[in-house]
């Protein structure tokens, strides 16, 4: 099978669109979150999708519902400062969800276990233009972080590389690579620079993996919405080492044309085949060690 066709089929299998059942489930949850917040705050903050849903880079194996909850710069209904806003939004959501505070986000856990994480990021717009936003940071040197959702989304969505990004996210997931998706997205856009998905996914992936495997120490990334946001901790030597090793492995597989080892097979085997194979194959030997649990 031609590589481009294979990669497109993998995207068809593993990618998620806004029409998918998964996305629809997220839409239902977003409406619930929106109601929980607007029931409490008169000022009606702006509640929007963020993350991969908005960037159109969702993949089936790992997707989250990221929602921002931004208050107008002169709206004090949730508090006078960022910390109050963070805590008051947390309290508002705590009526319906169990909340796990993250660095700038509130992770929600409901009675029903979702297939995805729900993260709500409270913040306050810097001015009337409702672009730049200040977020509260629970940890780190600075308690306040300037960001801009539209800039972040545009940087990825308009990069012409959303298919490559999805494939790289599938690769990250398959190989359990310990790097933030935000960093990986920035790396794809930075490394591929003027390349686009249209110029060939195989070409884009080769260039990306080659650069990370051979030259990662010379690759720098910057938060497109805030050049002062230090990404050093997210892209430190441990992350670089892990990415470089995994990319070298990827290049080796590409050179041997072993694409299925990188992104998996287009079709999964049938359950009845698996059952039959387990009965007859040496895979399932009676002298194998038996699992146990120390309790």
């Amino acid at each position: 099978m031609e590589t481009e066709k294979y990669l497109e089929q993998i995207l068809g299998k593993e990618g998620l669109t806004k029409d998918s059942a998964e996305a629809k489930a997220m839409q239902v949850e977003k409406a619930k979150v929106e109601k929980a917040i607007s029931d409490v705050f008169d000022g009606s903050p702006v509640i929007r999708y963020a993350g991969s849903y908005k960037k159109e880079t969702m993949i089936r194996a790992s997707y989250d519902l990221d929602i921002v909850c931004y208050f107008k710069h002169d709206d004090d209904s949730a508090g006078n400062n960022l910390e109050d806003i963070f805590n008051n939004v947390k309290d508002a959501l705590a009526k319906q969800y169990t909340i796990i505070p993250k660095k700038s986000a509130l992770r929600l856990q409901g009675e029903n276990k979702f297939d995805f994480h729900i993260d709500v990021v409270p913040g306050r717009f810097v001015d009337d233009s409702e672009g730049d936003t200040f977020l509260y940071q629970l940890s780190g040197d600075k308690k306040r972080l300037k960001t801009n959702l539209d800039v972040h989304i545009g940087h990825i969505k308009d990069s012409g590389l959303t298919k490559t990004i999805k494939l790289v996210k599938i690769w990250k997931n398959i190989y359990s690579i310990d790097v933030k998706t935000f960093v990986l997205e920035l790396l794809v856009v930075k490394v591929l620079d003027k390349s686009k998905d249209d110029s060939g996914l195989e070409k884009c992936l080769k260039k990306f993996f080659e650069e990370l495997s051979t030259n990662i120490d010379n690759v720098s990334i910057e938060d497109p919405a805030n050049s002062g946001n230090d990404l050093g901790l997210l892209f430190d030597s441990a992350v670089k080492s892990s990415l470089s090793a995994a990319s070298a492995n990827a290049i080796g597989l590409i050179n041997e044309n072993k694409w299925e080892d990188l992104f998996g097979t287009v079709e999964d085997v049938d359950k009845s085949y698996v059952i039959n194979s387990l009965k007859t194959s040496n895979t399932n030997q009676s002298n194998s060690p038996k699992p146990w649990l120390n309790q």
Binding site: A61, N173, I174, Y175, S176, I177, D178, A238, S241, S242, A245, A246, N249, G252, L253, K258, D261, L262, G264, T265, V269, K271, Y273, V274, I275, S277, L278, S281, N282, T283, N284, Q285, S288, P289, K290, P291, W292, L293, N294, Q295
Partner: protein, 227 residues
């Protein structure tokens, strides 16, 4: 601390080579001086058809191969619940603790570990999923019940006293021929199950047997207290 991959570069090279050659969807990396194997393990049948795959992380201890690596499933696919044989921290219980060294010794390679312990564990997981958990009898019961099961199996006995005595002997530095045989028939070890005892004594570590013996003693105390 003497890290095995620094101390024995040749061993580390063959370790990487075995993983690369046999598991192209796994890769070896180092973080905080510890070696990790990460990626996807594909479980294949005799016809080389992939039955299923699991995202895993294997943390190799600093004193490998004296101690065996820890395995975790990282794809959030398998719930980390007792029935799936995962501890609360996500560590897979590949095998009954005392039995591990029946499949592993200090000469073993990472390939032995993968073939003898990791792959069978995930085959069991596939079987669990396709049979809706009906393969539970192919695993040991949790805790000391499973320990009894294991020892009953290898000794081919239902005699709990014999099992207890056998485990007690395993905890000793040396088993003497003039001791009464664990099986309780009144003969000396040397005239009874000495060879079998010596065989398992070589493989099952005294420190593991000690933990099992402690577990047995706790159960005995609980029963005695209830009475």
């Amino acid at each position: 601390m003497d890290y095995w991959h620094i101390k024995n570069k040749g061993l580390f090279d063959s370790f990487k080579s075995e993983i690369n050659k046999n598991y192209p969807t796994l890769f070896v990396s180092i973080a905080d001086n510890l070696v990790y194997i990460k990626g996807t393990i594909r479980i294949k049948d005799d016809k080389n058809i992939v039955l299923d795959s699991f995202q895993i992380e294997i943390k190799v201890p600093y004193n490998f191969p004296q101690e065996i690596p820890e395995v975790r499933e990282t794809g959030n696919r398998i719930p980390t619940i007792p029935d799936r044989h995962f501890e609360q921290d996500g560590k897979a219980c590949l095998c009954f603790r005392d039995a591990i060294f029946l499949y592993w010794n200090e000469e073993s390679t990472i390939l032995d570990f993968m073939k003898k312990l990791v792959e069978p564990f995930f085959v069991w997981q596939i079987e669990y999923e396709v049979s809706d958990g009906k393969n539970i009898n192919k695993a040991y019961a949790h805790g000391m019940d499973g320990a009894f099961q294991f020892y009953k199996e290898i000794l081919n006995t239902d005699d709990i006293k014999a099992v207890y005595k056998f485990v007690e002997y395993l905890t000793k530095k040396k088993v003497k021929g003039h001791w009464n045989c664990y099986c309780g028939n009144g003969r000396k070890m040397r005239d009874c199950h000495f060879e079998l005892m010596k065989n398992y004594k070589q493989k099952i570590r005294a420190k593991d047997a000690k933990k099992t013996l402690d577990g047995f003693n706790q159960i005995i105390s609980k029963i005695a207290n209830k009475k």
